[in-house]
Symmetry: C2
């Protein structure tokens, strides 16, 4: 028997307790031994699940110190108490399972080094894309491959909002309000819609995929607040759609990392990811394209990730097999260090809102020409219901630096109602 | 250092050697130690890859017996010599990695029991859906879940043929000939197009997913040879498409297993699987829907699966952590034993080819009514280029047994040019 202490009985913790309890028989058959909840901790124990015979406390230290606890599940989130819990568990030589993306994105490499030094196991499947076992895939399933590119749709709130704008052509604010009512968006939606949640998740996945130390700050991040229904009209005309794409790409100069609204071809399987789902698309040198899809959050999908991690760690404990190599920064070569987004090369979609007058295209075209950017197409759909005049210029592959320089030149143009919205068109999918 | 002996240098063996050689540096960093090719065996060694310093032989026993070999990779396929190799390796206490679907589908449970008794490791990621790490997913990634339904598109040849018929509306024979020219189909395509290759793969995945002993004979199997372009016309009218679907479903009576052409909604992510790709869709009680997609075959994608398995087994060897629980039949409860396909309940698509005359619909409808089957729709598209008159009746959910009884009644009807083609319409996707 291996014994688990669960700290945090919120959404994920409650799901974990439920699965460990209801599915105990099958778990024991798969493992060859039972996995028992020995202790639980929550700030408030009223109305919280009470597994048979488990020690219950409001003080997390009592779980970490409990002599019957072999694995500590840190399910409270945040970066302060959660870090204390994990440090305390490591000091006591106890293995840890966590669902904490912020902490793993920021301190994963250090925590892993400490875990290895202490001879314990650490697992974090639930920290990214809850229901998708992407850690198992990157750590084991395709570990023999050399990954070139990883694309993710890692925030269910943003994907729900974008696909609702696409489906209904309602505006961002209305769809966000609907998402909040439906429970798909938080009362304070900033971390989701501004891309910071996605950024933490990409930092973890890129570290696993490329073996480099990646921090959230290494990732260029842009939210979805500027996306309007008309952007989908133009994207569809180009046989594309718009998603908040988390991307990590190996280039000869280094890794280019970004979280930003991007155009992707409608024919790609990633374009089929709608609503609050998550997905990860990986291109390897040998295995070529693989794709993984599932629920990104929720008590049960994330609970499955935690329980699957607990099972793996329990197996390792029974085998006396502690962590030996960090999944973070195993390369330690500096071969693919992050480089600025300005190096990114892509076709771009530029959407303008202008006051109608003669010579607009000529002046925008001059700004692009001055940066040696070639225009691919100029699109203008009839728009009955817009005060201003949104239209689109797509440009042939160029660098982000050139696009930014051209956009800077356009800042002087008085007919622009707002700065141009520039989005890359991802062609390698 | 852990040493590998590779038996079989065909398509998969050559890919494995190439990846182990070219990617050796990254593999060593991920493992914390090198993985070396100590010996290779092929019936013909001319023009075969020769890793530095590896022992080369045409006699597989010399690889199994080689004192420097820790893990034997069986990559020759088939069920006779391959079984001898694996038995010999187990007897010598050596771990085994295999890509052999027929052997694992038929003897996986016994081989695993022997491996556990001998204290070695066995791995078979490459045996199903080469580039998709579905074994890692089922064994580790979502091991905490309780799986209800598993759908797969597991044969790239069939999926290529079906999606080409869909794309070009060419007939089966023409598309098969094209697939043979393009290298997507074997000279003797029977194992692929009649569904037997898919059947072996489903037997393995269903065993892993449900923990029951499943043999290929437990799976109702039907090939794609009767699918015509007009079937896609009718399917599209119903907002569906047609794929060779491998399905395993838990029901209160037991497991229902089938490989057969089926209608699936165009809106489902499984319908986006085109060409020679494979995919697996899993519905769990807690994690809900997850979906996995990638190349099903090929030297490199399957090589990645073999190399990733070698890495996992090498880690286990270094940890002294042999197999302890069989992934096959771990349940041993008989709780979800396979039951006949006649229990399957679904809506059905029935396509008829008839000599035109009055009263056809009335007689077909009587046959359905006699089995208490309700008609959902009658569809007839204008068909300029058909001698006969293909049309479709869809029926409301009923059992396979009832559909078969109705089809048997129809056998007497002289206006039918061929027996009706009945396909389930999968609604739970």
């Amino acid at each position: 028997m291996v014994n688990v202490g669960i700290i945090g009985l919120g959404n994920v913790g409650a799901g974990t307790v439920q699965i460990l309890t209801e599915n105990a028989g099958q778990i024991a058959l798969k493992l060859g031994f039972p996995l028992r909840i020995a202790a639980v901790c929550s700030r408030n124990l009223e109305n919280k699940p009470a597994p048979d015979g488990a020690f219950r406390t409001t003080n997390w230290r009592e779980v970490v110190d409990h002599p019957g606890v072999d694995i500590v599940a840190e399910l409270i989130g945040g970066t302060t108490t959660a870090a204390e819990i994990i440090h305390a568990a490591i000091r006591r030589g106890k293995s840890v399972v966590t669902a904490n993306k912020e902490l793993m994105a920021r301190c994963g490499a250090e925590l892993w080094d400490q875990a290895i030094a202490a001879g314990i196991n650490l697992a974090m499947e639930a920290s990214v894309a809850g229901g998708i076992p992407i850690h198992a895939v990157l750590r084991e399933g395709i570990s023999g491959d050399r990954i070139h590119t990883l694309y993710g749709i890692l925030n269910g709130t943003c994907n729900f909002i974008l696909t609702e704008i696409e489906r209904t052509r309602a505006g961002f604010a209305d769809v966000l309000a609907e998402a909040q009512r439906a429970g798909y968006a938080e009362a304070d939606p900033a971390a989701d819609v501004e891309g910071y949640d996605s950024r933490s998740k990409l930092a973890i996945l890129a570290a696993l995929a490329f073996g480099e130390r990646i921090l959230p700050e290494d990732i260029y991040t842009e939210g979805i607040g500027r996306i309007t229904p008309v952007d989908f009209d133009y994207a569809h005309q180009l046989h594309h759609t718009i998603r908040l794409i988390c991307a990590a790409r190996r280039t000869p100069q280094g890794l280019i990392l970004s979280v930003r609204p991007s155009l992707i071809p409608q024919s790609t399987i990633l374009a089929g990811v709608r609503g609050a789902y998550n997905a990860v698309w990986v291109r390897g040198e040998y295995g070529a394209d693989t794709f993984y899809y599932g629920r990104g959050a929720g008590s049960h999908p994330t609970g499955v990730a935690v329980v699957s991690d607990l099972m793996r760690v329990a197996r390792e404990i029974r085998s006396g097999s502690p962590e030996r190599v960090s999944p973070f920064a195993h390369a330690r070569l500096g071969e693919y260090l992050p480089i600025p987004i300005t190096f990114h090369r892509s076709a771009y979609f530029l959407r303008f809102r202008v006051e109608d007058r003669p010579g607009i295209i000529a002046q925008l075209a001059s700004a692009l020409a001055a940066e040696n950017i070639s225009i691919d197409s100029v699109l203008q759909l009839p728009q009955a219901n817009w005060r201003d005049l949104p239209f689109v210029i797509t440009v042939e592959p160029t660098t982000e630096a050139s696009v930014r320089a051209a956009v800077a030149r356009m800042a002087e143009l008085k007919f622009l109602i707002e700065p141009p919205l520039a989005m890359p068109m991802e062609q390698s999918l």
